[in-house]
Structures are given as structure tokens and as C-alpha cells.
Amino acid sequence: MSVRLLAFAGARDAIGAAELALSLTEPTTARSLLARLCREHPALAPYESSIRLAVNGTYAAWEDPIHDGDEVALIPPVAGG
């Protein structure tokens, strides 16, 4: 099972990539996916509690499951306007 990960703004800088292909080998929720990314990318970890996840263009609840083929985005604090 694989998902496409997008990272924006400060989250992109912390991960060092705007886009990653991730393989998931076990059932994963939005929360566990963010936790995994913070383990793999220590520069992201200090921001864990400030980042929201969007799945396929909609904010996800933390317990939402991630499915094969989903587009998952790391949404740091927004600053439009």
C-alpha cells in the first residue's frame, strides 16, 4: 500500500522534499502517519502538535484511516490573507 505525501512551507523545509512516495505495511491512521514522519524526519518533530493532515484535499480527523493511493498533505499553520 502506498500513498503520495505532499509537504508545504515549513514542513517541506523540515522534510527536505515537497513530495514523497510512502509505503505503508500496516493499517495507518492520520495520527500514526504523522508520528512516523516525525520519527523519520527529526526536524519535523518539534512541530508535530501544530501540523494538521489533509487526505485527498480535506482536513482529516486524527483517527481517519489512510487508504492505498491517498494523497496526504502536511498542513503547517496556515497564513493566508
Binding site: F8, G57, A73, V78, G80, G81
Partner: protein
């Protein structure tokens, strides 16, 4: 009407979109790049968006606030903006001014809270993502 564009944005198309024979009041908000932010000088703001979601989220907000009487429109510009450039325009029409002001205010508040747009501030002290530094080790917990 929801617009996300790299080009300059203007009020007139939004005003035309929300105009109704039954609407006696239109409230508008124009967000402009300031020359300072929290005491720091600003020379340039670079806006970026998660485009498809930003458009979808603006549509969702407009859908939530729209009523039989209230019509809304929003345009957001992204890319490199200088001091005085318009970043966002919100418009809301209603039969009377109270509802028009309330809807316009809600519209810009929700946009600033929810739409995935970010800006990198450039000034004499370098460049950084607005809100990112403050987000480090924030004491909120996921729920």
C-alpha cells in the same frame, strides 16, 4: 465565486458577482501586504498554496456561509507580493448591512483559519514562514 490566482486581483468582479436586486448592502474586505509584521520590516511576501485543496476549502467556506439572502465571493492571490499589493478580497451581499458585515467578517476569519495558504516573509533579518517559528513545540495536543 472563488478565485485563486497568481495575477493581481480587483474588487469589481467580486462586487458584480454578489450584486442582487434584493441586496441593499455589500460588505467587502481587502487584505493588503503591510510594511511591517510584529515590529519587523517587511519588503516582500511569498504566498504559496496547496492549490486544489485551497480552492476546495474556499468553496466549502462559501457553501457554509451562503444563505438564501447572503451571497459571497472571495479571491486570493498567491506568488510574490510587495507592500501595498492586495492578497485577498472578500465580498458579501445581503438585504441589510448587518448580515453583510457579519458574513464578510466570518468569510475572512474562516479563510485565515482554514485555507492552506502560507506566506514567507522577507525582511532585513532574512526570510521565514509566517507562523512556523511559533508552531515549534506548541503546547496544544492532538485530539
Amino acid at each position: 465565486m472563488v478565485t485563486l490566482t497568481d495575477e493581481p486581483i480587483t474588487i469589481d468582479p467580486l462586487l458584480a458577482h454578489v450584486s442582487r436586486p434584493s441586496a441593499g448592502g455589500v460588505a467587502l474586505f481587502v487584505g493588503v501586504v503591510r510594511d511591517q509584521a510584529e515590529g519587523r520590516a517587511v519588503t516582500l511576501l511569498e504566498y504559496e498554496a496547496y492549490r486544489p485543496m485551497a480552492l476546495a476549502e474556499m468553496e466549502r467556506i462559501v457553501g457554509e456561509l451562503r444563505t438564501d439572502d447572503v451571497t459571497l465571493a472571495v479571491a486570493h492571490r498567491i506568488g510574490a507580493l510587495r507592500v501595498g499589493d492586495t492578497a485577498v478580497i472578500c465580498a458579501a451581499s445581503a438585504p441589510h448591512r448587518e448580515e453583510a458585515f457579519a458574513a464578510c467578517r466570518r468569510l475572512i476569519d474562516e479563510i485565515k483559519a482554514r485555507v492552506p495558504i502560507w506566506k514567507r516573509e522577507h525582511g532585513p533579518e532574512g526570510a521565514y514562514w509566517v507562523g512556523w517559528r511559533d508552531a515549534r513545540c506548541a503546547h496544544e495536543h492532538h485530539s
